[in-house]
Amino acid sequence: MSSLIRRKEITIAIMLFCAFFVFADRAYKAPILLDTSKWVQKWVLAISAVTMIVTFISSIIRNTRRIQTSLSEGDGPDAGSSIVGQWFYYGTTLVASVLTVAVGLTMGIQSNPYQWMYQYVFQNLATAIASFLGLFYIGAAFRAFRARTAEAAILLICGVTVMLTTNPFGEAIWSGFPVIGSWFLNWVSIGSRRGMGLASSVGTVALAIRVILGYERSVSAGGE
């Protein structure tokens, strides 16, 4: 019985069933297709929500194991700071996630403690961490943006022109920048973008068919 349940044909059959009805409902109008597609997608939404809970539990287990390893075996020469061990960082993640869930579920998202955490910790950290990559762009652009070849020169010219187009400083320097930049944005780059999109659409369809038919082993037989 166990070997019957383990067969990858069951997962392939489920994927084929869901993919067929979701696709067919979009391509053809028929009540049975619509009803089955609605049923499938409603279940998918609930499963998506449960995967977040699984992620949370998985993160607790993983961080606890890492803390145990760090405390018992030490961190080795390449790990982290010499002042604190890795256990401190894993513990930070663990405490932060558990505290957030505890406050959110017991007091609610609209409660003052949760809103405080969200406004003063989460919101600003999200923006700060996303934005500091911008500083690395600057360093990388300074080192790497050299017009050594024709391709590099084109990339440099388009990038700089668009940067000068999208903020008013460019127009203040020269009124032609917005004209040229808009031309690059609206016309020149769009064709190649669409061509790349066409190629990626073909690749996506091919990959989707491979996944549905079970040729992608990591999906259909994962965990073995």
Partner: protein, 284 residues
């Protein structure tokens, strides 16, 4: 001369970054106040809302922007909330990112409350819906089949406003705030099958993608980034922090472009001065 160029090529990255930080911070103390001209895709979006959508229409407002882009879009969100109340739009709010809940309660609902809007009669918030593209597709087919209660816990069928609203065709248009895939998903799942106009309100990186949809006629217009938010707020006559932010961003860009140009000049001097260009590049 070549030693100066070598030193410049091997400049510590931190000096450059501090120069950018100073340039970005300065306009907050010494505002420049450059005027913001309107971009054609923003004008088209405004023209559509002003001339093709009647007063009192029903609108879907999707707040699926991640928190990291909130600085770009918060002015635009507040301006949108205010504009919808001026036009008497009935608004159904939703989000496919958990952060949308925060955005609704901090930027949108306060405008509705100020305008005297009544929950359940003038606006409804469906809350966070997981499932990404699947959720957008299901929302177009039937709201009631997708979720049974709104974010406040009220049953959908008990809300007076929702009596005639259940699927995509019941909406006049969709204003989709997004930091990634969501507005594009609305184009695929709401515009292409049902013809519902979509106005993507995205961060700056989304502009090049939505411009191709605008050029192809799939969307009436788009408003992107802090510049779009500033133009939208300016048009409505509302105060906006976008002007100072654009000055700050512009000065930062100017410094970055200056260093890139200087680096290229140094490279050209080295190249035509006969030095081996493979050694150019400096330390990481």
């Amino acid at each position: 001369m070549s030693s100066i160029i070598d030193k410049f090529e091997n400049l510590d990255r931190r000096i450059l970054l501090w120069a950018v930080v100073i340039c970005v911070t300065l306009p907050y103390f010494i505002p420049v106040g450059l005027p913001i001209p309107y971009e054609p895709w923003v004008l088209d979006a405004i023209d559509f809302m002003e001339n093709e959508v009647p007063d009192g229409a029903t609108v879907l407002l999707d707040l699926s922007a991640a928190l990291r882009v909130i600085t770009e879009l918060e002015g635009g969100m507040q301006a949108t909330g205010w504009y919808f109340t001026q036009r008497g739009f009935k608004v159904v709010g939703t989000c496919f990112y958990p952060d949308g809940v925060f955005e609704w309660y901090n930027f949108i609902e306060p405008e509705f409350i100020k305008a005297g809007y009544v929950y359940g009669e003038d606006y409804v918030f469906l809350g966070y819906i997981p499932g990404e593209s699947t959720g957008v597709d299901r929302l177009a087919k039937s709201i009631r089949d997708l979720i049974s209660v709104d974010y406040e816990g009220n049953k959908i069928e008990d809300l007076p406003m929702m009596a005639d609203i259940d699927k995509a065709e019941d909406f006049a248009f969709v204003m989709a705030f997004g930091s990634g895939w969501t507005p594009g998903s609305y184009i695929t799942n709401w515009y292409l099958p049902y013809g519902i106009p979509i106005i993507p309100f995205s961060h700056m990186y989304g502009l090049s993608g939505y411009l191709s949809s605008w050029m192809a006629g799939f969307i009436p217009g788009t408003i992107c980034g802090v510049r779009g938010s500033g133009e939208w707020a300016n048009y409505l006559g509302l105060p906006s922090t976008a002007v100072t932010m654009l000055d700050s961003v512009g000065l930062g860009h100017a410094i970055m472009i200056l260093f890139i140009i200087l680096g290229n000049i140094a490279m050209l001097i080295e190249k035509y001065g006969g030095k081996d260009t493979e050694s150019i590049g400096g330390s990481p």
